[in-house]
Symmetry: C2
Subunit: 230 residues, 2 copies
DNA sequence: GTTTTCATCTCGAAC
DNA sequence: GTTCGAGGTGAAAAC
């Protein structure tokens, strides 16, 4: 990985045409050839970038470029003929570092994991509830969980990390379908999430859907096999 | 902006829980307090990050941490109680740089601009064509351009930077509507883009929609008022 | 302030 | 290979 702090001007031509006026910025050149240009704010998104696969060619400034104060011109070529031209004026820092291949991110707490934990502990959703099956199939896709309450009535459960309106809409569509199945009889709905936004809760309750806020850490504590971190 | 190359382990807890095993990475701390951790590949997305507003606190490693080989522990706190803990073992590089406020990106060639240029030069789309109006309203949204050919027939034009299938579908819906309007009579369709993907072209032609590849630079050259770069 | 839409979205999985 | 949908989406515009 090469880190360069330099006065630079950048011109991108590809899906759109964009221009960065001359200013001091960070230029990152990674081992896969990819390039990104960062300002001194915003963690996530670079000002400009070129995703791999791409190639970088560097050349000294010539003629009018030199007169304009430039010292080097880098040209990055990507797929589809996208180009990123980086015109450097003054280089304040330039260092390279061997990093090796990253072992990669381990994600936990994704919706699938939450669903698995709830499937193992359906009593969290309601006393005496039992799991019928995960990913119960319908014509428009699988319902996250189908459970039964102690009276034998079916309950469709939609699981989200953060409960918003679209999740309620999704569950509503499933319920419409499930309720047409005479084998299931009346089906209740439960919207389960770690956090439920106020307007999602209002919409759910208006439609007779119960809301359950899930304590993820407590669920994890119930199941030792889930202790995969550390 | 502070650049740190270090052996580090990272733990994020917020919208999800994620863990990065110990490895050599780049840690970027920007002037707005935001933090991002990069591996040696991929230009766009960091492995982990904390968006501003957030605060970083640094402390020396203690007790068991020291025995585990750690030297420093950084804790980044964001909104909603999100936390990013960066445990550093060996620091290979650490430098800070004053960058100042970036003048910002100037975007050109966006769809709106392409549409404006074509509106000024409808003859680019077909000999003798004239513009009826931009953003011609329909019940499902405005059509980019409505033109007339020399024979007086109407032509609906959909403008995209890169022509893909969804653009053809969009134009098809507009044409369906426009053709029901007896005042317009038969309406032809034109799909105009800087680049048209083969499968989009096939679909368009199959539906009797003409495809026009637009030379953006040539269009810009026609209009001096558009010389906003440099 | 909240909500919706856009993005050079990126990225992975399903088909 | 293409298509679809999620993302710790982020960020800007609209309301």
């Amino acid at each position: 990985m090469r880190l360069v702090i330099a006065e630079c001007q950048v011109d991108y031509a590809g899906r759109l045409t964009a221009h960065l006026p001359m200013a001091k910025r960070l230029i990152l050149v990674k081992a896969d050839g990819s390039v990104s240009i960062h300002a001194d704010d915003r963690a996530y998104k670079p000002l400009n970038w070129m995703s791999p696969p791409c190639s970088v060619t560097e050349r000294p400034a010539e003629g009018a470029e030199t007169e304009a104060g430039l010292t080097e011109v880098w040209e990055v070529r990507g797929r589809d003929g996208d180009t990123l031209q980086i015109s450097l004026a003054a280089i304040h820092h330039d260092s390279s570092h061997e990093l090796g291949i990253d072992p990669g991110l381990v994600k936990d707490g994704v919706e699938a994991h939450l669903q698995a934990l709830l499937a193992e502990h359906p009593e969290t959703l309601g006393d005496g509830w039992s799991l019928v099956r995960r990913e119960y199939p319908t014509a428009i896709g699988p319902v996250d969980l189908l459970c039964r309450d102690p009276a034998g009535a079916y309950v469709a459960v939609e699981v989200k990390r953060r409960g918003e309106i679209d999740g309620v809409e999704q569950l509503t569509r499933y319920l419409d379908l499930l309720r047409r199945d005479p084998l299931l009889g009346d089906v209740q709905g439960v919207f389960a999430a770690q956090q439920i936004k106020p307007q999602a809760r209002v919409l759910a309750l208006d439609r007779g859907i119960a809301c359950v806020t899930v304590d993820y850490d407590a669920l994890r504590g119930m199941d030792r096999s889930e202790d995969r971190l550390f």
